[in-house]
């Protein structure tokens, strides 16, 4: 199967691998630093002794975070938003993308424009805020799901993928008697697993990282999402504007980098666990055996 690789190709591969290794190493080192600091004793961190290996290992920083009830309810809230919002978003995005991928669609230009226009012209924070309140979504978790349900950007991405699917597949399906619905659900969606996985990942991460909307639309502390609570923990004590409070009166525990970095780990690790689940959709050769058009 493989013909002999030429010299230039070997060199090319060496270069590629070197770059990848260097890049990954720098990232690994950076995160080792983060983890090490989060696990180290406060004084060692202060003295700058911690680089990649924790010193005076203790879980104090994590304890501070985990012991707050607010963190757990925040976790639950965020999970709810993800579980409720992601399928809804993907579904609706596909609903928008499929018709737009039909080249002969009547009204296509109009609909596309209507969609694309929203990518650049949004009403702004205050009108949205007033709208959410009028719709009685204010101070509920749905306020963090519904307003962003369809992102024109995602629609375009998926539409592009739908357009790339060889028309021969569709033609042979129609000859077999498929209507639009079956074409969408039985052919297009299964074939679009990579892009759907990508968009799902974006959507999930978007919900996970969402901070501004949660701040604006949620007042009930029991409904705060993860980012809000974590940022609060991290920034407590270093924010006082106007009031002259000495560091003494804010337990200096909370000022330490340990807590800040522990919060990063707590935020990042769960999301990284999502990716392996989606990776199986990034599989090559999905259209193997398709009829060449």
């Amino acid at each position: 199967m493989n013909r002999n690789k030429s010299m230039s190709e070997r060199i090319g591969m060496v270069i590629v691998y070197s770059i990848l290794i260097l890049f990954c190493s720098s990232i690994i080192l950076a995160f080792m630093n983060v983890i090490a600091i989060s696990l180290s004793g406060k004084t060692s961190v202060m003295r700058g002794e911690v680089t990649f290996i924790p010193k005076n290992v203790n879980f104090e920083a994590y304890k501070v975070i985990i012991q707050k009830d607010s963190v757990w309810s925040a976790y639950a809230n965020t999970l709810f938003i993800i579980i409720a919002g992601t399928p809804l978003q993907i579904m609706l995005t596909c609903f928008a993308a499929f018709p737009l991928s039909r080249t002969d669609l009547v009204g296509k230009k109009f609909i596309t424009l209507m969609l694309v226009f929203t990518m650049w012209f949004s009403a702004g924070m205050i009108p949205m805020f007033l709208l959410v309140r009028t719709l009685k979504l204010y101070n509920t978790l749905w306020a963090l799901i519904v307003p962003g349900l369809i992102s024109a950007y995602n629609v375009m991405i998926i539409r592009n993928f739908f357009q790339e699917i060889p028309s021969s597949l569709e033609e042979s399906a129609r000859i077999d008697g498929c209507n639009d619905a079956r074409v969408l659900f039985q052919i297009f969606i299964p074939l679009s697993k990579p892009v759907l996985a990508t968009v799902s990942l974006w959507v999930i991460v978007g919900y996970w990282n969402n901070y501004m909307s949660a701040l604006i639309y949620i007042r009930n502390p029991k409904l705060y999402t993860l980012q809000v609570v974590l940022r609060n923990i991290v920034l407590t004590g270093s924010d006082i504007s106007g009031e002259v409070l000495s560091a003494q009166e804010n337990d200096e525990e909370l000022l330490s980098d340990c807590i800040k970095y522990a919060a990063i780990i707590v935020t990042t690790i769960p999301i990284m666990c999502v990716y392996p689940f989606l990776q199986k959709y990034f599989v090559k050769g999905v259209i193997v055996g398709a009829v060449k058009g």
Partner: protein
């Protein structure tokens, strides 16, 4: 089949969008503002209505800054509501995003009754008259509060229109410098070179030069930072610690135009050049962790930090092996304007009453409560038997609370950083800081902090911050004073670092003054006259 799915999804979406769909109970804050009828039309309450506890329950909403260690189900708040017969619904605003949240509250027009600002009053709230002036209400309904105010306090309470809008967190009888920063120095390094504690600028220059050149930490590497962190103490020595300099005739003069400003800049540039001050001071981050780090690893000779820093650093260095490490507070730098250190203002800002409140009179009574005998006890010590005991006629906080630290005691609602107005007692502060020990019973290293706090010299040298209302005069807004200040500060820093010349700085100062600050200074002086009347 697929059509069915599609249609039902549409239905679900419509149901979700249409009002009524909420997974969790939304709080009833939207509808419930004041529950009781407004019986006072002219602004005066009858005697029976004014008596505490209120006969008819007062229901109000209070927007309050929320920190993770806070809750509103706290002891003091519950007791307060019981004693006065009030029902308070707290709206918690996360501190990290208070600015945006308050902007949203204002933007929605749905204002709570009581508003607790995290810092100075947001100019928007004043501009759009979202909060009401309290002067008349105070006189009628807040006698205890007024009795605690000194003349100086009024300067800080009044806004740029000369009226008072908030009932503050009052720092009570806290001595001027307790809890604040002082200039600390490594006594053991001084001893090593047989140097006296420096006093004047020249003394300091000699000491810092020795720190730099003679390798006090003995590791053979020239890594010492003789003067780390903030340059404030040096500016203070010239009397330039604030935007305006207070002249003897009680007028204000812009610091950049002061006769000592350029001299100070030259001195600092000189010291930077000789590496006597931290060459990376501009990026050493502002929230203290990096600054502390350089003292903790023993390369910093002196720094402007809080009093307890002396204890902490000494301990940490001794633990790390430097046995005779000793970090003490100095006597400040004496410059052309003598010795100066920033003192603690006596009032912070706390609660304002919004213009949408229905019962400002009774609310004022509620805000007055923390200044009564009962109220002071409640918010400083808590409840007898639960959080403190009376021992020999003095109120002593329970040991578990004191050992738990500030966060623990705040979880009971005592000395909350933000929230209801409050009058602070220094006794409580000392109990907490020194964990119940007195100066006789604490060890030598802890006593370092004690001395840092109570040192008489510091007390005499303390000056009060200028009120923030000076930065809210119309000219400041029109000419965008904040960015002018930023420009000047940036240029100053660049001159100190040797990247620009003093000429550049002088030119910029003149330019900025002609094109804005002259007017700002004039209006600030006008306001100052009003405030200090």
């Amino acid at each position: 089949m697929k059509k069915f799915i599609a249609l039902s999804l549409v239905a679900i979406l419509m149901v979700c969008v249409i009002p009524g769909c909420s997974v969790n109970q939304s709080s009833s804050s939207d509808s419930a503002i004041a529950g009781s009828t407004d019986t006072s039309t002219g602004g005066t309450l009858s005697d029976s209505e004014a008596a505490l506890p209120f006969k008819e329950t007062l229901k109000i909403t209070q927007a309050e800054v929320w920190r993770p260690e806070n809750d509103t189900e706290v002891l003091t708040y519950n007791v307060l509501q019981e004693r006065l017969n009030i029902e308070i619904e707290y709206i918690q605003i996360p501190v990290a995003s208070a600015d945006e949240q308050y902007a949203m509250i204002l933007a929605s027009g749905d204002l709570p009754d009581v508003v607790n600002f995290p810092g100075s009053i947001y100019p928007d709230w004043l501009k759009y008259e979202a909060i009401i002036p309290l002067d008349d209400l105070m006189n009628e309904y807040a006698p205890d509060f007024i009795s605690k105010l000194s003349n100086e306090d009024y300067i800080f309470l009044k806004s740029s229109d000369g009226k008072i809008y908030t009932v503050p967190r009052h720092n009570g009888d806290m001595p001027n410098v307790v809890g604040l920063s002082s200039l600390c120095v490594r006594q053991d390094w001084l001893d090593k070179f047989s140097l006296e504690m420096p006093l004047t600028l020249d003394d300091w220059e000699d000491v810092l030069t020795a720190f730099k050149n003679d390798d006090p930490n003995g590791n053979g590497v020239n890594d010492e930072i003789p003067f780390g962190g903030s340059l404030t103490p040096i500016w203070d020595a010239y009397g330039l610690g604030q935007l305006y300099v207070r002249n003897n005739d009680n007028t204000l003069a812009l610091k950049y135009k002061d006769k000592y400003y350029i001299e100070a800049v030259r001195k600092l540039a000189d010291w930077y050049d000789k590496s006597l001050i931290d060459r990376e001071y501009i990026t050493r981050n502002k929230n203290n962790t990096e600054m502390q780090a350089i003292t903790y690893n023993g390369i910093c000779g002196s720094m402007y930090m809080t009093g307890t820093h002396t204890t902490d650093v000494t301990n940490a260095l001794r633990v790390a092996g430097i046995e005779d490490a000793l970090y003490v507070s100095s006597k400040l730098i004496e410059g052309p304007r003598g010795r100066n250190v920033r003192g603690r203002p006596s009032v912070g800002l706390s609660c304002a009453i919004s213009s949408k409140a229905n019962e400002p009179e009774r609310i004022m009574q509620y805000l007055n409560y923390p200044f009564t005998e009962e109220g002071i006890e409640l918010f400083n010590y808590g409840v007898e038997g639960e959080t403190f005991d009376v021992v020999g006629g003095k109120k002593i906080l329970k040991q578990e609370l004191v050992d738990g630290g500030w966060n623990t005691i705040r979880s009971y609602g005592i000395n909350k950083v933000n929230g209801t107005s409050y009058y602070w007692l220094s006794d409580m502060f000392l109990q907490m800081t020194f964990k119940g020990k007195t100066v006789d019973t604490m060890d030598e290293i802890s006593a370092l902090a004690y001395h840092a706090y109570t040192d008489k010299v510091l007390g005499e040298a303390a000056y009060k911050d200028l009120p923030s209302s000076l930065n809210q005069v119309q000219a400041y807004i029109d000419y965008d004073g904040a960015s002018l200040v930023t420009e000047l500060e940036d240029m100053t820093n660049q001159v100190i670092m040797g990247l620009k010349t003093v000429n550049d700085l002088e030119k910029l100062i003149d330019d900025v003054y002609e094109n804005g600050f002259k007017q700002i200074e004039k209006e600030a002086n006008e306001l100052w006259t009003i405030l200090t009347k």
